[in-house]
Amino acid sequence: MIEILKVRLKQGCRTMSYPAGPAPEMPPHFTGRPVIHPESCGEDCRECIEVCPSDAISVTGSEVRIDTGRCIFCAKCRQVCPEQIIDFSPDFRLAAARREDLVLGSGDDPVPSASSAVAKKLFGRSLKLRQVSAGGCNACEADTNVLNTLAWDLGRFGIQFVASPRHADGLLVTGPVTNHMELALKKTYEALPDPKIVIAVGACAASGGIFRTHPESSKVLADIIPVDLFIPGCPPHPATILDGLLRLVGRIDEKE
């Protein structure tokens, strides 16, 4: 017992002050929200499209757009772009409530909205989530789980992961939804009492990611059940997930 108390003292309080205090610092090579410089890109140059593993880039005329719902943030496009018009900022705020808002071009509003008036009203003070991994590689799962540790302490926002769908207000889904998990996912969703919300974490859940074209995961999450929040990344940084959840339920005010 004395030992346990001694260690307790040495470990101290480690919960971060974010969002009241400063946001956690991103590592040096972190690839956050894409920044596309408005300079026009070379005519007929399609190098970024060719190199992109997740078919996230579209070029119309000279306007480059990146679908962050598909993007795995590998930064290959930045490497090959001869005009250097694509870059990735350290900004981890990527979540959006609407799928189409994930497609970023040079002129877009910098941070798409993730808030939902309904979610704020119903779940602003208490949100119980059930997690389903449907073909996830355990990276999105791990960095969702990390929010439960005392460094992030998700519980202080009234957000909690629960063991049964019957106890949950929402589903947090990871993975491209393999055919083999489709039924279990639907059943879990149906077991949730109404009203309920669905959160897609990671490129796979948002769009199928690099498995989008596989017959083994033939449907995208949003085609199976309605999605209220998309959190891009491969995997998203825990700060990205937390920011998305907090904006969804209005714990972070987007207008500020």
Binding site: K10, R14, P27, S133, N138, A139, A142, V146, L150
Partner: protein, 500 residues
């Protein structure tokens, strides 16, 4: 004893140099190898015309070499399993993927409920995933407990079927496949722009382990040399991955028995270690770090100093948090004797990694088949003899310490930055290349076979979980069903790495 075609870890050989044996001879030589101390690292099929060529990769720990045996099969061959239990899941996989019948196999149950890779494409699956016959016990008061695919925590899906009498589990059957994403099928014909990313995500918690194995097969096929500094950075990243996951596992084990201090601290410290990987490449799981020919990023002076200091702090914190486990009688009472596996069983079923070393088997790719930096710097093998949850926990802690020492040593003597190694992408045609890596769960084996055009005719991935899931099933025998979460966590195997 006949001498087989051998190659070192990370080597490649022309396909035609491995004789195409008759099936009975193939069987005899694999069994002879296993009797003489070899272990089946991989056993897989590769399409060849309308037949399938089987390859068996035998790992010889005493010589540090790997031997390749092969035979061409139309639709059946004599099964190895009756005389060699470690072949049982490989042969079930062969039957499922290639519609081959290993004759005499006791039970060719589906492995992943996947569509076969041969025969009519787009044929519907025979059954819904998980719908199959299970081994059943009968008798008075015998009952069955079914768990999954969706579990109570934030974990991947799988189905567990227990045959119980009262609290006691007499048999556990594990039925997987829910995570099947068709990765091996998608790799054939490659490499292409997605290949490296499949490797990063086939078991996302083992990104460094699998991308290292992949890059080494590519380097073998392209005869590329990796600069010394990149080898060291790869080694550092591999050990960081091990430390982070081991710390996370020890925290989760503490959580499963309700010992909250260690659980809370380890959850946080694990994150601190993942952030060290992020320091190398910007991603907590090591995405973008390992690339064919070297590494995607180099260590700067500043990140080197930060890595050293922050690792020391994390290990000091971990030491305090984890040593509580060994000092608390109520923890030891739950760990000791739970889910035991004997050394003999471990050997027979071919366990690898922490699970094998916890049974006293000295089995570690870093020592037995050294490559890259591990040829220069040795990490002492850690074993324990009790084969129970305690052993799997304790081995993890000892490995954390040794891996940290290794990293700190390496940071002292990082080779100077060499010029980028020229990387030629032309791969040898009709070759077989293989690479073993000691991932944090155990031996990762990748084998690439190329066709005439120098592209993948097939690409075989064996995650350590493929060897070890059966170990968990055996560990549960005659245990309390309430100990399942604890035993499961002590193995902490990958679902997606198994299901691919």
């Amino acid at each position: 004893m006949t001498i087989d075609r051998t190659l070192p870890n990370g080597g490649s050989i022309p396909l035609d140099s491995t004789p195409d044996l008759a099936a009975p001879e193939f069987r005899r030589r694999v069994l002879e190898g296993v009797t003489n101390g070899a272990r089946i690292a991989a056993l897989f099929g590769c399409p060849e015309g309308d037949s399938v060529r089987l390859f068996s990769i035998l790992a010889w720990e005493d010589t540090g070499l790997l031997s390749v045996l092969s035979t061409t099969v139309k639709d059946r061959y004599p099964s190895l399993t009756p005389d060699c239990p470690q072949a049982h899941l490989f042969e079930r996989e062969l039957a499922e993927q290639w519609r081959i019948t290993p004759e005499g196999h006791p039970w060719l149950k589906p492995v992943r409920f996947q569509t076969p890779m041969r025969g009519k494409s787009n044929e519907p699956l025979p059954t819904q995933c998980g719908v199959a016959d299970f081994f059943q016990m009968t008798g008075e008061e015998v009952h069955e407990v079914a768990v999954g695919p969706v579990h109570a925590g934030i974990i991947e899906p799988g189905h567990f079927r227990f045959q119980c009498h009262g609290e006691t589990v007499h048999h556990l059957e594990i039925s997987l496949g829910y995570q099947h994403r068709g990765i091996e099928k998608a790799l054939a014909g490659g490499p292409d722009k997605r290949t490296l990313h499949y490797m990063e995500t086939l078991a996302g918690d083992t990104t460094i382990g699998h991308t290292t194995a992949y890059c080494r097969t590519i380097e073998a096929l392209t005869k590329s040399r990796v600069p010394a500094r990149a080898q060291v950075v790869r080694g550092i990243a591999l050990e960081l991955e091990r430390i982070a996951n081991h710390i996370g596992d020890l925290g989760a084990l503490a959580g499963d028995i309700g010992f909250l201090p260690t659980m809370s601290y380890c959850g946080r410290i694990r994150g601190d270690v993942l952030n060290l990987t992020a320091l190398l490449c910007g991603n907590r799981f090591g995405r973008r770090l390992i690339e064919p020919g070297g590494t995607g990023y180099d260590l700067t002076e500043d990140s080197l100093a930060q890595l050293r200091d922050r690792l020391k702090t994390a290990i000091t914190d971990a030491e305090q948090a984890i040593s509580l486990l060994w000092k608390t009688p109520s923890v030891l009472a739950r760990f000791e004797g739970a889910g035991p596996i004997s050394r003999k069983t471990a050997e027979e079923i071919g366990l690898v990694g922490v699970s094998a070393r916890a049974c006293g088997l000295e089995r570690d790719v870093r020592r037995d088949f050294p490559y890259g930096i591990f040829q220069m710097a040795h990490i002492p093998i850690v074993t324990w003899h009790t084969g129970d949850v305690f052993a799997r926990a304790f081995v993890r802690w000892l490995e954390i310490e040794r891996s940290a020492m290794f990293i700190l040593d390496q940071l002292e003597s990082l080779p100077a930055r060499p010029p980028a190694a020229p990387f030629t992408r032309q791969m040898s045609s009709r070759h077989l290349a293989l690479a073993l890596v000691e991932g944090w769960r155990g031996e990762i084996c990748h084998v690439a076979v190329t066709n005439e055009a120098g592209r993948f005719a097939c690409y075989k991935i064996v995650d350590p979980s493929f060897h070890n899931w059966f170990g968990l099933a055996l560990a549960l025998r005659e245990q309390q069903i309430s100990d399942f979460p604890l035993c499961n966590k002590s193995f902490n195997l990958s679902y997606c790495g198994h299901d691919l």
